[in-house]
Structures are given as C-alpha cells and as structure tokens.
C-alpha cells in the first residue's frame, strides 16, 4: 500500500496534466488496441433534467449530449473551432454575416436528411415563445435571421459582430435535432427517445431515476477530424446509470459492477489511486473559475480596501488543501487556467497576507473590535453574507465556505456568514441585494461567454453591481472579433481590471471533472477545450 501510493499519485498527476492539456484519450496502455463490440456500464452522478440538447443547462450532463447529437462545429485542443456537421464557414468583413457550408452525407437517426433547412429549423425553434428564453436572451441576442442559401449552405445574419455565435454553434444548445422530432415530439422540452439526432449513438431507453441506454448508430460515418477515429462507435451499447452517492459509485467500480464512473470527490480518490486495476483521470473545465464576487453596491465592499483585505485574509492554498486534500487546482483569475485567454501573469500577485489585510481594514476605519473579536466601525460589525442555493451546491462548496469563514475570522476579524438555503430563498436574497458575496463558476466553452454574463453592466448574472463603460467596451471588443490575438488582448485587460485594479473577485479554484475506469476500458477521455468527460464514441472494451 505504502509503496504503490507515490506511484499512483504520480500516475494521477500525469493523467491530470495530460487531461489539463486536453489530450483526447487516456488509459489506452492497459486496454490495448481498440476493438469493436461489447456493452459498457458507466455510473454518473447527475441525472439530466432534460435530454433535449437545446435545453441543456447542466455541465454534468454534457457527456450524454454528444452521444446522440452533434453540432456544426467543435473545438480542438487549443480552443479553436474545427468543422463537424459543417465543412467550414466564412465571416463577412463587417463580422455580421456568417456563411456555413454543410456536410451532405449526414442523416438523422429517424431517416431525415441533414441540410440547411434543418439548421434553420433548429435555430428558429428558439424563437418559439417559452422554448428557451435564456438562450434567446444571451447566446442569440445578436442574431437577426437564418437563411437557407441552398441545400448545403446556411447564412447567419447578425445585428452586430458577435464571435460567440461560433461558441453557440459548437455548444449543446446549438446541437442539431431532427426537424421531424421538433415538429412531432410530444414532450419536446424534456427530450428522450423521441428526439432523433445525428450522433454515433441512439438514445433508445430512459428509466427515470435509474439509467439511460444508448445503442450504436451503425450508419454513423461523419466524425470530426479531431475525434480520434472514424466510422461507427466501438461499443454496441452503453448504459449510464445514475448513482448520486460518490461512495456507491466507487464501490460499484471496485466491485466490477460498472466499468467507468464519473465524479470522484477528493475524499474517495485514494480508493481509486491505491488500486492498480483502476485509473483516475482529471480534466480542468473551461469557462470561469469558481470565484467569490464582491457586491460593490453597498458597504462594506463598496470600499476597495475592504475587498482587498478580504482577499488578503484568505490563504487560498491552505483552504483548498484542507477541503480537497490537494486535488484542487487553485485559480488566480476569473478565467479558468486552461482557457486560451487566461492571464498567467496574475498568478501570485495577491492573497494570503494577513498583516496587509489588517492594515487595510484599519485604514478603512474598521479598527475597533467587539467582544467576539470581529472588527467594527461605528458600532457595526464587519459582517458579509454569502447565500448558497442548496440544489446547486457541488464540489463541497458548503465546506469550502466554512473554511473561508474560519480563515477570515481568524486572520482579520471579518464575519462571513454562510447560509445554505433553498433555491427560492437564495434567489430572493440576490434580488433584494441581501448579500455581499456571490459565488459562481460557469462551464462555458468560450470563457468570453461567461465574462459577458458576469461582468458587463447589464450582464444577466452581474452580481457585483460594478458598472464601468471601459470594462463594457473591452468585453464588447473581446466578443466582436474573430481574431484570436485581438480577443486575447481585450480579455487580458479585462482580467487585469477586475482582478488587480478593482479587486472585484476572489478566484478560488478551477472546477474539474474526474473519471475512473478499470483496465478493460480504453479510450475514455475528456472533451478538448471544454475539459468535461467526453462521449462514448472513442471508448472500447477489451475482450
């Protein structure tokens, strides 16, 4: 046991590193060469609320989407766009017209042909009232119209330049559903077997509360160049079983009742790494890092010195080690470290300086202390409130909040109150401004999408109350250009502004996903750029 541990740790680290670099697959060494056939059982943590990709809202459900649905574009490992159901696209010089050429050899699993009219039907579906107002208000807010030029050419007209259209068209919400299903499905928004897609598997059975079952689509022959192989999937069938308890998932894996599991919390990692028959892989998610956003709309965080003091009062490394046993990756910016827009120069520029925290608070007038040791000003305690919505707590974020709470109390006399509430109460607290700290992470593949929601003055998740025309302009620049260098320059300034200049945010950790699997399984890996577990297309079972 003692001897294998370091080796396992090194292996896990190596896997984590390769996964962080978004390599396609892991664990190929044990299972040998890919073989066709077999049925695989995969235990996952989250039962999706919907199987309609247009309604997708749970990053944890993404690995299911790409089994039966596909998008026009996908991402390569560097965050760039590569063709999938489209063969390519052109952007007009003014950035307002995107013309896509489509593959002509693709059919939906219900026999409907995939063509430009199908693409238009999919995007137009979002205009139906109540279908998905959130996508309409965010991802498609600059879309004017979709036009069919010919059977294999579709044109997107925008009201203003918006490169995030490409992100939409490579995201689950932009996945292509058979127009026939869109018209005929009885429970369209719930999805399920009655929705046909073009993917390598067909969802044929869903038992709520238990499992969802896919069978191979034998006609599939249009994998993107980055997929790793071509033609139909290796597996005959794959069953995803919903096991919400992590210890039960791990037990099911170690006893061979399932071959792959998703979601291995830090507390259970040792069970996997200590077992030579099992492999653990970790992928850092794209999008925004898990961060605390300070509400600048009222005291005390309207004072930048208090914001800085809070950040200095937390020793993030110590907190993460305590809560996640060294398995979490610290975040230094609002953007996750695997994003092409991540600004590495922010690392180690702030945080963990209790003396500085106390100096700043004294300077800001919070110099007196009450009987419990908390700082006060004019007889009022330095209290800041964090309200967590119970249905959305994951990654032990409640425990993390308690650790931060203990730290800021001890090192600087700040009173962080943490409330775990139902969704209604939490939403009300946000609406009433009855909070000083807001926590969030977003799994958008293009981090720019997350930033415009969280940071623009009118952003629909702007909880900092910080409004700045310069920041809005930078975010607009980052979103308008297809030139990666220009976008990078804009987003680097954004990060400098919100992290260094304004101290609006305390980044904590980069959200990650873990997969563990036995040595009979090959080809399990993470989706390039997104960093979440990939679909079952590449997975095989050795005989």
């Amino acid at each position: 046991m003692r001897r294998t541990r370091p080796a396992a740790a090194v292996l896990a680290l190596a896997l984590a590193l390769t996964a962080a670099c978004s390599s396609g697959t892991t664990g190929a060494a044990d299972a040998g060469q890919p073989v066709s056939g077999g049925s695989l059982t995969w235990a996952i943590e989250t039962e999706p609320i919907t199987f309609n990709p247009h309604q997708y809202a749970q990053a944890k459900a993404r690995l299911l989407v790409w089994n039966s649905f596909e998008a026009l574009l996908t991402h390569d490992a560097q965050g760039g766009y590569v063709p999938w159901l489209a063969t390519g696209y052109e952007v007009s010089p003014d950035g307002k017209t995107y013309t896509f050429k489509l593959r002509t050899d693709v059919t939906f699993s219900d026999g409907t042909k995939f063509d430009a009219a199908a693409v238009k039907a999919n995007v137009d579906q979002f205009q139906v009232e109540g279908y998905n107002p959130q996508v309409l208000a965010v991802q498609l807010r600059n879309l004017a119209s979709v036009e069919v030029a010919d059977a294999s050419t579709v044109v997107f007209k925008l009201t203003q330049p918006d490169v995030l259209l490409l992100d939409f068209l490579s995201s689950p919400q932009g996945a292509q559903v058979s127009p026939k299903s869109l018209k005929e499905a009885r429970n369209l928004k719930a999805g399920g077997p009655e929705l046909a897609g073009t993917g390598p598997f067909i969802l044929d059975r869903y038992t709520a509360g238990q499992e969802v079952h896919f069978t191979r689509n034998p006609a599939y022959n249009w994998a993107p160049a980055t997929a790793g192989h071509s033609g139909p999937a290796y597996l005959d069938e794959v069953t995803y079983r919903f096991l919400k308890e992590s210890s039960v998932r791990v037990g099911a894996l170690t006893s061979g009742q399932v071959q792959v599991i998703e979601g291995v919390p830090a507390t259970d990692e040792a069970l996997i790494t200590a077992n030579k028959q099992l492999t653990l892989g970790r992928g850092l998610n794209s999008g925004s890092a898990f961060s605390y956003y300070f509400n600048t709309a009222h005291a005390p965080f309207d004072d930048i010195r208090v914001r800085r003091a809070f950040r200095e009062a937390v020793d993030v490394d110590a907190v993460l080690t305590g809560v996640y046993r060294g398995s979490a990756t610290r975040a230094w910016s609002v953007i996750g470290p695997t994003s092409p827009f991540y600004d590495k120069t922010l690392e180690k520029t702030y945080g963990g300086d209790a003396a500085e925290a106390n100096r700043l608070l004294d300077e800001a007038g919070w110099s007196a202390r009450d009987a419990e040791g908390f700082r006060t000003k004019d007889g009022k305690r330095l209290t800041v409130r964090l309200v967590q919505s119970a249905p959305f707590i994951r990654d032990r974020r409640d425990v993390l909040a308690q650790a931060v709470q203990a730290q800021v109390k001890q090192s600087a006399g700040i009173d962080l109150t943490v409330t775990v509430a139902d969704q209604g109460t939490a939403a009300k607290a946000l609406a009433d401004g009855a909070y000083e700290v807001f926590e969030n992470s977003r799994a958008d593949t293009d981090a720019g999408a997350a930033l415009s929601l969280l940071l623009t003055s009118t952003g629909s998740i702007n909880r900092t109350g910080f409004k700045d025309a310069g920041l809005d302009r930078l975010l607009q620049d980052g979103q308008a250009s297809t030139d990666q260098a220009k976008r990078l320059a804009a987003y680097q300034q954004v990060q400098k502004l919100v992290i260094t200049d304004q101290a609006l945010i305390l980044p904590l950790y980069a959200p990650a996903d873990q997969i563990a699997f036995g040595n009979t399984v090959g080809g399990v890996g993470f989706e390039p750029t997104a960093g979440v577990p990939g679909s079952a297309y590449n997975v095989w079972l050795s005989k």
């Binding site: 208000a137 096991l243 006893s255 249905p391 139902d422």
Partner: protein, 304 residues
C-alpha cells in the same frame, strides 16, 4: 353499512382537499417565487422572466391559479412539471411502481421480522440482547445501514447488484435497509403488548386449561398484542415514504423519493402537489385498512 362507506369516502375526499390546499399554501408562503425557481442559477433578465410568466400563466392571481388547479385536478389533470417539462402523471406514474415494490417488500420484511423477534425472544437475556439490537437499528440512520449492507454484500461479496429496479436481487438490500428500523420499532411494541396480554386473567385461564405456553402466546396473547401494532400502520406509511427518499438515492433506484426531493428543492409546484395528494391517498387507504384490521383481529368490535 352504506352510511359507513359514504362517511369514509367523504372524509377521504376532505383529507385529500385539505392536503392539497395546505401544500399549496405552504409553497405560496415559501420565499422566492416560481419564476425564481424556474430560472435556477442561469441568466436572469426581465425578458426571460416575462416569457416564463406567460408560458405558465403565472400572472393570474394566486386564488385563480389555486381554483384552476383544483378544477383540473378534479378532472384528473395534474398539470405539467415546471422543471421536467413533462405531464405530472408521466413523471409520477413511471415512479410509483418501483416505490410501491420497495415499500411493500420493506413492510413485509419489517413486520415478519418484528413478529419473529417478539415471539421467539421471550427468555430474559435473549430478550435483552434483541431489545438492544432493535434500539440500535432504530437509532442508526438508514443511510448508514444502506452503505454498510452495500459494502459487505454488494461491493465485497458481489451477492446483490448495487443499483436500479432490475429484478428481485436488486430489491433485497434496499428492502432490508428500509425494513430493519421498522422491525426495530414494531418488535418493541409487540413485545410490550405480549407482556401485558400474558398478565391478563384470560392467559391464566388458558394455562389452567392445560394449553402449552407457546399456544397461549401465539393463539391468545399475540392477537391482543397486534392491536397497538395495527394502530402504528399510519406511522408506518410515513416512515416508508420518508425512508424511500434516502434509500432510492443510495441504491440508485427509480422512485417517488427522488422525484419528490428534486421537486421540493427546485420549487416544482405541480409535482410537489401531486406527491402530497398521492401521500394523502395512501394514508387514507392505509387507515381504512387499519380500521378493517381491528374488526378482523377483535371479534368484540364486530358486534358493537
């Protein structure tokens, strides 16, 4: 007879209406509104809110929505789930059978085990050991019992599968997990009942007639001891419904528990209401059965 039946039906309907109304009021009083719940932690703008409100007709006064709900429920239309976008009878219908199977298996196991324990552990130290074990089972969280049973019988020895509603083998561990605490409580109640019955004059008479102690116990005393146990049937239905929430989660079983948990957490009003009404139906049915059981067990009640 007809009058008795009519009274039963009328009180039953009244209980259903009261349950639905109480649940409706409770949800109305809960902080945050339905739109907040539907939006979740996603994007939130006035335009998005307006669309959600018009999609679900949430702009009507609460009283109108309540009356509309009652009217449609009376016609058998429970509405659509805000969260899952499927008709509520679909959402719940598919989950009733697995839960019923689990609850029935657990109840049968629990009751049988309780009977066996109460009748066979009459000697002083066996009785004390059994009583301690029962207390231990009652006070251990079912979650823990489930994990321990899984670790031993599924993960270690591979006798039973870990999850799902797939055949009898998958039902064994969840039913035992749910049934053990029930057996614990019932065994204590039965034992008390037996003690009291065996002190009664009729027990002395029976013994004087030359009946063996075992026959006195099973033919005479047990009947008396059953009365308080039957009174606990209503409690039993509550324990079963509450217990399945945790058991289904641990064992990855489909069922009402999971549906209820998700619906309450997300403010999915139509589903919550349907579950409450369903629970009320179960309660009415079980208490009717309990009343019938009294008649069956105690001939004196039949005459009056």
């Amino acid at each position: 007879m007809i009058r008795a039946v009519t009274r039963r039906v009328v009180t039953g309907v009244a209980v259903l209406w009261a349950a639905a109304t109480a649940a409706y009021l409770a949800l109305l009083a809960a902080p945050g509104d339905i739109v907040d719940s539907i939006i979740g932690d996603g994007a939130d703008t006035p335009q998005i809110r307006a669309e959600i409100i018009s999609e679900w007709n949430l702009d009507r006064p609460a009283v109108v929505q309540y009356l509309d709900y009652l009217w449609r429920a009376a016609q058998g239309d429970l509405g659509r789930s805000y969260l899952l976008h499927r008709p509520v009878h679909d959402v719940i219908g598919g989950q009733i059978l697995p839960t019923l199977k689990l609850a029935a298996a657990a109840a049968v196991f629990g009751v049988l085990l309780a009977l066996i324990l109460a009748v066979t552990t009459r000697h002083r130290w066996v009785r004390r050991a059994s009583s301690t074990a029962e207390l231990f089972l009652v006070s251990t969280p079912p979650f823990l019992i489930g994990i321990v049973l899984l670790s031993v019988f599924s993960f270690r020895f591979g006798i039973f599968p870990v999850s799902g509603d797939r055949g009898g083998a998958a039902l064994v561990l969840p039913a035992i997990t749910l049934g053990l605490p029930i057996a614990g409580v019932l065994a204590q109640v039965l034992r008390d009942g037996l003690d009291r019955a065996l002190d009664e004059p009729f027990a002395v008479t029976a013994r004087a007639r030359g009946l063996r102690e075992r026959a006195v116990l099973i033919r005479h005393a047990l009947r008396h001891a059953l009365m308080p146990a039957v009174t606990m049937l209503g409690w039993l239905s509550g324990v079963l419904l509450g217990g399945v929430v945790i058991i289904e989660q641990v064992f990855g079983r489909p069922g009402l528990g999971q549906v209820t948990l998700q619906a309450v957490g997300n403010g999915d009003m139509p589903v919550v209401l349907a579950v409450v009404v369903l629970a009320a139906v179960v309660f009415v049915v079980i208490s009717t059965l309990a009343d019938l059981a009294y008649l069956l067990i105690d001939p004196r009640l039949r005459r009056s």
